[in-house]
Amino acid sequence: MLAFTLRRAIQAIGVMIAVGIIAFSMFRFAGDPVNQMVGMDTSGAERAAIRKSLGLDDPVIVQFGRYVGDAARFKFGVSYQFRLPVTNLLMERMPATLELAICATIFAMISGILMGVYSALHRDSWLAHIFQAVSLIGISLPTFLIGILMIYLFSVTLGWLPSFGRGDVVHIGWWTTGLLTLSGLKALIMPSITLGLFQMTLIMRLVRAEMLEVLRTDYIRFARARGLTTRAIHFGHALRNTLVPVITVAGLQFGSVIAFAIITETVFQWPGMGLLFVQAVQNVDIPIMAAYLMMVSLIFVTINLVVDILYTIVDPRLRSTVGRAH
């Protein structure tokens, strides 16, 4: 178990270094940073001095080493547009994005599993057909369209929910949360649904397919032959076996939820990392873009690691084969 975790952690570090190379190369290919920092009338000598003070005349490999070293300590340089350390900017925005992503995932998991189980158990009921239709919409309609439609309906027409922003937030240390105020919670509803809808349909379809598969297995037939109640068979035996792949997908999807948050945050003007990134792209603020890339990759890699470990907890077979293999 420990060896397994360790090996996975080393792989994760390898991935992060690769991402670091990509992030670093953004600086090289997106023009000369000095040109973006200084005015038109700066002399060549002054430019050289700045270049030297920033270490830009060192060999590429040295610069890369320095970049990765700094990144490992969460130092990503100074934003061109805000003149503030990128780390501070990201940290300020991160709680908003994480809260949104977590709420969206919880929404997607709960409704996806419920709808999936229902449509597997009552395959031919009209409600199951409706779920299937809804899931098609969720998969095919783009996020921004759903977001805009919801804003039109619930904010503009009905006036129930705010159309943008996080509402009032409460500071807990460096973390800001919108979960403790009514306006914060209200502001969370539409963005969460918009962001989670795609994952919800994905989970629903997965649960339905897996559940139908599991219900055909011998151990379910044997469970019926043992006279267990339908409830115990469906929710004890079948659902648990269904959840193994669902956990993987939902976990891995959490990374994409954060990545997709860029669109949702733009639609709802949600003050998170995604919005920061979009603004950075508009202003060619490379330090922010590079740092965002690194942060999102770090989250992805961490989730992968956690999912792998969770997997072994849910499925005892993996536990022992892993144990035996080492």
Binding site: R221, A223, G227, A232, R240, N241
Partner: protein, 328 residues
């Protein structure tokens, strides 16, 4: 004679398919007495497993019991409401499936699966059920049961898993055990152990056993009586010694001829020419007539009904003692 534990009368099982309705079981009747082992033998597709599944009420759509009656110790069970039938399953009828590797839920400890089943059927506390589970594992021959009870199915070998499955089947002291090819997926050396275990459990608890298999050797070793099935019908049924030594039905004769012996004579095994008809193309008259060396005109027209012949009962016109009566 006391009432049989299981009594099946004229059972018909149909499967709706695109090519029309298929009769998987067509007029099967047999009894199993308390403590008796009935072997049900036949080729794949003869309707053995379907018969077993209909007794325990696990025929799924598109299949259905289309006719006949099944009685368990006097109680008619083929038309019970689902919830009542569920209470019969596992409690009064235990079932053992073919593949022990896939019969157990891989994510639950074997002990939890046994305790769950016990507590579904018997009003026992968690602790009492666990104690009973340990006793059961010991009874089916699992060493160190108090330790193994917390193991997961994948930590058991195939034979050991089949023992767990048997423990699950008998955990509520059922009156009847249906064993559907219980040894087919196992090593030959383990087969004998499982067979003698089932036999011993049946004897110790007075449980009736319906043993479905295509292995005549297993039948000869365990069963008191044997039913030979062919194309959804019972061709011959009777005490095992009689049927093995003196089979009456030509198909049963063929089957007995196909048993390899250990005597070492290098005689070729006797084959039955042809293969069993598909359910969609069962011939008129006796379903065995195209493969039968003794078939005569009547066999191609009229379906033979079971006829008593001493302790045996055989569905074959060759053994019709009163031909004039039925021909009329």
């Amino acid at each position: 004679m006391t009432e049989p534990v299981l009594s099946v009368r004229n059972l018909q099982v149909e499967f709706a398919s695109r090519r029309g309705t298929l009769r998987a079981v067509n007029g099967v009747s047999f009894d199993i007495a308390k403590g008796e082992v009935l072997g049900v033998v036949g080729e794949s597709g003869a309707g053995k497993s379907v018969t077993g599944l209909s007794v325990i009420g696990l025929i799924d759509a598109p299949g259905r019991i289309a006719g006949g009656e099944i009685h368990l110790a006097g109680l008619r069970i083929d038309n019970l409401p689902p919830e009542e039938m569920r209470r019969v399953r596992g409690k009064r009828i235990g079932m053992i499936f073919q593949d022990p590797l896939t019969s157990l839920n891989p994510l639950y400890k074997v002990g939890d699966q046994i305790v769950e089943t016990i507590r579904t059927h018997l009003n026992l506390s968690e602790r009492a059920a666990r104690r009973r589970a340990i006793d059961l594992l010991a009874e089916v021959g699992i060493p160190a049961p108090e330790k193994r009870i917390d193991g997961y199915p994948h930590e058991f070998s195939g034979g050991m898993r089949q023992r767990v499955v048997i423990a699950l089947a008998i955990c509520a002291e059922p009156e009847l055990i249906i064993a559907d090819e219980p040894t087919t997926a196992l090593d030959v050396s383990v087969q004998a152990q499982i067979i003698s275990l089932i036999k011993r459990l049946g004897r110790d608890h007075g449980t009736a056993v319906m043993l479905v298999t295509h292995d005549m050797g297993v039948i000869a070793e365990t069963s008191d009586r044997v039913a030979v099935m062919y194309a959804g019908r019972v061709a011959e049924i009777g005490p095992v010694q009689d049927v093995v030594r003196n089979p009456l039905h030509p198909y049963a004769k063929g089957l007995m001829g196909a048993i390899p012996t250990l005597a070492g004579d290098d005689k070729r095994l006797v084959q039955i020419p042809g293969s069993m008809p598909r359910l969609s193309a069962i011939p008129r008259g006796c379903s065995f007539n195209p493969r039968c060396a003794f078939a005569f005109d009547r066999c191609r027209v009229e379906r033979p009904e079971p006829m008593e012949h001493g302790a045996q009962s055989v569905a074959c016109h060759l053994h019709d003692t009163a031909p004039a009566e039925t021909a009329a």
